[in-house]
C-alpha cells in the first residue's frame, strides 16, 4: 500500500475520567479501503477510543482529522452525518419493524408526507442486493437470526447520507465486536460483506477478540494497552504470538511482595469433576477436575470462554451437555441455588450488574448469600451477624469500615472486597473469581491475590480468572488455557512454565 492520505487521523488523544486516565496520547490512522483491527484487553481503551471518535465522549486532548479536516463531534448523530457509522455488538435496530423500514427509518422516501412504501421496498431490496445479501426486506427484522440483523445494521449505516442509492455516504465504518455471537457461516457472510465494502473504498475499523478472524480479514492493526498505543502493524508483519505478547505479555508487574511466594503443594483429594460440560454459543464441552485446596487459573483472551466456563460451573447458565460432580455427588446445576448448596461461590466480573445491590448497605450485601441460603424465615441473629460482618470488614480491610455505608458509594476495590466477604462468609468449598482485580487499584489487587493464596492454604479451592498472565501464573497450581470458546489445554504449573509458554498455547491453541 503506497501510503495514501488517511481518511481518518487521530493524534495525541487524551481522555480522562475522574481518577482514571483512560487514554493517554493515543495515535490512530485509518486508510480508505482497508480493514483495520483495534486490539487490546479489557480496560485497554478500545471502547473509549471509539466513543471519543463517535462523539459519545468529549475529547480531553488531541485532534481528530477526517478527510483532511479537523473535526470534533458532540453526538453520535453528528459523527454519523459526517460519515462515521458504528455498528455495535448489540443490534440497535427495531426488531418489530421490517428489514426495509429498519434500513430507511427516519429518511423514508415520501411524497407530500406520505411514505412511498413501494419505492422504499424497492430501494431497500436494491441496496441489499448490491451488497450481495439474500434477505427478504419485507419480513420483520425479528424473524431473522442475530447475524442477519447485524448485517442489516451495517446496511443501514452504510446507506446513510443523501446518496442512499449509491450506498456511499459512509467513509468510516466501525464494527464493535460484531462477531461475538455469530457462528462460523455467519462470520464468513459478514466478512464477505466487509470485503465488498472495502472494495468500495470504505475504511473499516474492526474490533474482535478472535485472533483468527483478525488474521483472516484485516489488513492492519493497532494494539492498545492500559490506555496507550503499543503498536501499529501490518497484519502480515506480526504473527499471533507476537500479537498476544503485545496485548498482554509484558504487563508491568508491580506486585513485588508476591514474587517470592511459593505455591504450597498440599493439594488434596478431588473436589469437583466436570464431564463434557458445555453450552452452545458459550463454551464447547470440556472436562475439568478441581482438587481440594487447588487454585486453577484460567488464561485466555477476552471472549475466549473464560467467563462462560465459570458460569456453567456455578449454574448461572444452564449447560446443554455434561454433568458436574461435587464431593462425589452429582449436582443438577439448574440454578445457582444448586451450586451454592454444594459449596460453590461465584464473584462475577460485572460487580455492578451481577454482584452488588447498590442501594443496600455494606452489611446487607455481605450477609446476602448466607441469608439466601438460610431462607427468609431464619434470619442471622443480630449479634452473630454484626460479629461476622465486623470480622470480614477487618480481615479484608474494607473502607470505609462502616457497615451502614451504601455499597454503591464504595470504590471498585472495596466493592470487590464486599463481594468476596459475601461469599467467604458462606465458607464455600470452591470459590470462583472472575476478574476480581479488574478496575481496582494496585494495593487492593495485591491484597486480593494474597487472600487467594491463604484461602488455598486453608484448603479452599479457587477458580481464578484474570486477564494478566503473570497473575494467573503466580497464583495457580494448574492453568487452564482457553481459546475460541474451547478449553484447549490444562498445564500443571512449575518452574519451567513461563508466560511465553502460555502465550504460545493461547496463540496456537496447542500445548507442547
Amino acid at each position: 500500500m503506497a501510503e495514501p492520505r488517511p481518511v481518518l487521523e487521530m493524534t495525541g488523544i487524551v481522555k480522562e475520567f475522574p481518577g482514571v486516565r483512560a487514554l493517554s496520547g493515543v495515535d490512530f490512522r485509518l486508510f480508505p479501503g482497508e480493514i483495520h483491527a483495534l486490539l487490546g484487553e479489557n480496560g485497554a481503551g478500545k471502547s473509549t477510543l471509539i466513543k471519543v471518535l463517535t462523539g459519545v465522549h468529549s475529547l480531553d486532548g488531541g485532534t481528530i482529522t477526517l478527510d483532511g479536516q479537523s473535526v470534533r463531534f458532540a453526538s453520535p448523530l453528528q459523527a454519523q452525518q459526517a460519515g462515521i457509522s458504528t455498528v455495535y455488538q448489540e443490534v440497535n435496530l427495531c426488531p418489530n419493524l421490517s428489514v426495509a423500514e429498519n434500513i430507511f427509518i427516519g429518511r423514508e422516501p415520501t411524497r407530500a408526507g406520505r411514505i412511498q412504501w413501494k419505492q422504499l421496498r424497492r430501494k431497500a431490496a436494491e441496496l441489499v442486493d448490491r451488497l450481495g445479501l439474500d434477505i427478504d426486506v419485507t419480513a420483520p427484522l425479528s424473524s431473522y437470526p442475530l447475524a442477519v440483523q447485524q448485517l442489516v445494521a451495517i446496511v443501514r449505516s452504510v446507506g446513510t447520507g443523501d446518496s442512499v442509492a449509491e450506498g456511499s455516504g459512509t467513509k468510516v465504518l466501525i464494527l464493535d465486536e460484531p462477531t461475538s455471537s455469530l457462528d462460523r457461516d455467519e462470520v464468513l457472510e459478514l466478512f464477505a460483506l466487509m470485503r465488498r465494502l472495502k472494495e468500495q473504498g470504505v475504511a473499516i475499523l474492526f474490533v474482535s477478540h478472535f485472533l483468527d478472524q483478525i488474521y483472516e480479514v484485516c489488513d492492519r492493526m493497532t494494539v492498545l494497552r492500559n490506555g496507550t498505543l503499543v503498536g501499529e502493524h501490518m497484519v502480515s508483519d506480526l504473527d499471533q504470538v507476537g500479537l498476544v505478547q503485545l496485548m498482554i505479555g509484558k504487563a508491568l508487574d508491580q506486585l513485588e511482595e508476591l514474587h517470592d511466594h511459593q505455591l504450597h503443594s498440599g493439594v488434596g483429594e478431588p473436589l469437583l469433576q466436570a464431564d463434557g460440560l458445555g453450552r452452545t454459543g458459550g463454551i464447547a464441552p470440556f472436562d475439568l477436575e478441581i482438587k481440594k485446596g487447588e487454585v486453577i487459573g484460567l488464561a485466555g483472551l477476552l471472549g475466549s470462554g473464560r467467563t462462560e466456563l465459570a458460569r456453567l460451573l456455578f449454574g448461572a447458565d444452564q449447560p446443554d451437555s455434561g454433568k458436574v460432580t461435587i464431593g462425589g455427588k452429582q449436582v443438577s446445576m439448574s440454578a445457582p441455588n444448586d451450586a451454592i448448596a454444594a459449596g460453590v461461590a461465584f464473584c462475577s466480573e460485572n460487580r455492578k450488574t451481577e454482584g452488588l445491590v447498590p442501594d443496600l448497605t455494606v452489611r446487607e450485601n455481605i450477609i446476602l448469600a448466607l441469608q439466601a441460603a438460610r431462607g427468609w424465615t431464619r434470619p442471622i441473629p443480630v449479634s452473630q451477624r454484626d460479629e461476622l460482618v465486623a470480622k470480614y470488614i477487618k480481615a479484608l480491610d474494607i473502607r470505609p469500615a462502616n457497615p451502614e455505608a451504601r455499597v454503591g458509594q464504595l470504590s471498585g476495590g472495596n466493592q470487590q472486597k464486599v463481594l468476596l466477604a459475601r461469599w467467604l462468609i458462606t465458607q464455600p468449598k470452591l470459590l470462583i473469581l472472575d476478574e476480581p482485580t479488574r478496575g481496582i487499584d494496585i494495593g487492593a489487587k495485591a491484597e486480593i491475590q494474597k487472600l487467594v493464596v491463604s484461602l488455598s492454604e486453608d484448603g479452599m479451592s479457587v477458580l481464578y480468572i484474570a486477564a494478566e498472565l503473570e497473575e494467573v501464573l503466580r497464583l495457580s497450581h494448574t492453568i487452564g488455557v482457553l481459546r475460541d470458546r474451547r478449553l484447549v489445554a490444562q498445564i500443571a504449573n512449575g518452574p519451567e512454565i513461563t508466560t511465553s509458554r502460555i502465550l504460545e498455547t493461547i496463540a496456537s491453541g496447542e500445548h507442547q
Binding site: P76, L77, Q80, V91, N92, L93, C94, P95, N96, L97, E101, I105, G106, E108, T110, G113, R114, I115, W117, D134, I135, D136, A139, P140, S142, S143, Y144, P145, L146, V148, R156, D183
Partner: protein, 340 residues
C-alpha cells in the same frame, strides 16, 4: 420453538418455516380477534334470530353505541404502541362532557365554538403529560394518574351536579342520522370512523407513525438511529389527549348531558379494547384495525347480554377480564417464543 433456531437449522436459513412465520406474524392476534368477533356474531345470529339480531341496524348500533370508546381506544392505541400507558382517558372524557355542557348551558356559548375549545384543552392536557414524562423521566403510569385525578377534580370544580343539555343545535346534531341503505349511522359513529381512518393513515403512511412503532419496539435503538424520540413521545400523549377530548364530545352527544362521574374507569375499557385487539402492552406491535375489533367485541358482549335478557350487566366486566387474560397469555406466548 424459536424462529431463530429453526431458521438456522433449515437448509436455507433465509426462509423461515411456514408455521414459525404464521406464529410470528404480527397480524395473527388481529385475525384471532376478528375471528372471535365473527364467531360471536354468528352465535348471536343463530341464538337470537327471532329477536331481530339479524337486522343490519344491530351491527350499525355497535358503532353508534361505542363511537366514543372507539375514539378513546384509538388514542390509547397510539400511546400503547409507543410503549406507554395513559390512565387519564376516562377523566378527560368526563371532563369534556362537563366542560361542554357547562359552556353550552350555563355560558350560552354556541356548540361550534365549544368543540374546538374542548379539543384544545384535551390536547394541551395530553401535551403537558407527555412533556413531564419525557423531560423529567417520570413513569407514564404516575404522570397520567395525576392527570386522572386532575381532570376528574376539574369536573367537580365545574359542578358537582350533572348538567343536562337542552340546546337545540346539540340535540339536532345528536339525532342526525346518515342513511346507509340497510341502516343508518349517527354523526358520532361517522366521526369515529373518520378518526379511525386518519389514525390508520398516520400510523402506516407517515414518518411520525413509524416513529411511534420504532420507539415502542426499542426506545434506545430509536434514539441511536437518530430519530427524534422525545418529540414523538410527547406527540403521542397529545394525540391521546385530543382523542379523549373528542371521545368526550361524542359521549356528550350520545348522552346529552355533562356529569362529573361520566366515563369513570373508561380508560380500562379503552386499554382492554386495545389489548384484545392484539396490540402488545409492551409497545411496538399492533394495528389500529385490531383496536376496532377489540371495541366491537366488547360492544357485542354488551349487546348479547342485552339480548340474553337474564344476564346482568356485570357479566360484561367479567367477560372483558377473561378475554383480557386470554389475550395477555397469547401475547406472552408469542413474545416468549421470539426471545429464545
Amino acid at each position: 420453538m424459536s424462529a431463530t433456531t429453526q431458521s438456522r437449522t433449515a437448509p436455507d436459513r433465509r426462509t423461515t418455516s411456514k408455521t414459525a412465520r404464521l406464529l410470528g406474524d404480527r397480524r395473527l392476534p388481529v385475525l384471532v380477534t376478528a375471528a372471535l368477533f365473527l364467531v360471536m356474531y354468528i352465535a348471536g345470529l343463530s341464538r337470537y334470530q327471532n329477536y331481530g339480531f339479524a337486522e343490519p341496524q344491530v351491527f350499525m348500533n355497535l358503532f353508534i353505541d361505542n363511537s366514543y370508546l372507539l375514539v378513546a381506544a384509538v388514542g390509547a392505541t397510539f400511546v400503547i404502541l409507543s410503549g406507554g400507558i395513559d390512565l387519564s382517558v376516562g377523566s378527560v372524557i368526563g371532563f369534556t362532557t362537563m366542560f361542554t355542557a357547562w359552556l353550552v348551558e350555563r355560558q350560552g356559548m354556541p356548540i361550534l365554538l365549544v368543540i374546538p375549545l374542548a379539543l384544545a384543552v384535551g390536547a394541551v392536557g395530553g401535551f403537558l403529560m407527555g412533556y413531564v414524562i419525557q423531560n423529567f423521566e417520570i413513569q407514564p403510569f404516575i404522570v397520567t394518574l395525576a392527570g386522572l385525578f386532575l381532570f376528574r377534580g376539574l369536573c367537580l370544580v365545574i359542578s358537582k351536579e350533572s348538567i343536562s343539555i337542552t340546546d337545540s343545535s346539540v340535540s339536532s346534531m345528536a339525532q342526525a342520522q346518515v342513511s346507509l341503505g340497510a341502516g343508518f349511522l349517527s354523526v358520532g359513529a361517522i366521526v369515529a370512523l373518520v378518526v379511525l381512518a386518519a389514525a390508520f393513515y398516520v400510523l402506516h403512511y407517515t414518518r411520525f407513525g413509524r416513529r411511534v412503532y420504532a420507539i415502542g419496539g426499542n426506545e434506545q435503538s430509536a434514539m441511536l438511529m437518530g430519530l427524534p424520540q422525545g418529540g414523538t413521545k410527547i406527540a403521542v400523549y397529545t394525540v391521546s389527549g385530543f382523542c379523549s377530548a373528542l371521545a368526550g364530545l361524542l359521549f356528550t352527544l350520545y348522552i346529552q348531558s355533562g356529569d362529573p362521574l361520566h366515563a369513570t374507569g373508561m380508560e380500562l375499557d379503552a386499554i382492554a379494547a386495545v389489548v384484545i385487539g392484539g396490540t402488545l402492552l409492551t409497545g411496538g406491535s399492533g394495528y389500529v384495525l385490531g383496536t376496532v375489533f377489540g371495541v366491537l367485541v366488547l360492544g357485542l358482549i354488551k349487546s348479547i347480554i342485552q339480548f340474553e335478557g337474564t344476564l346482568s350487566s356485570w357479566w360484561t366486566k367479567i367477560a372483558t377480564g377473561v378475554l383480557l387474560c386470554a389475550f395477555i397469555l397469547i401475547q406472552r406466548a408469542m413474545t416468549a417464543r421470539k426471545k429464545t
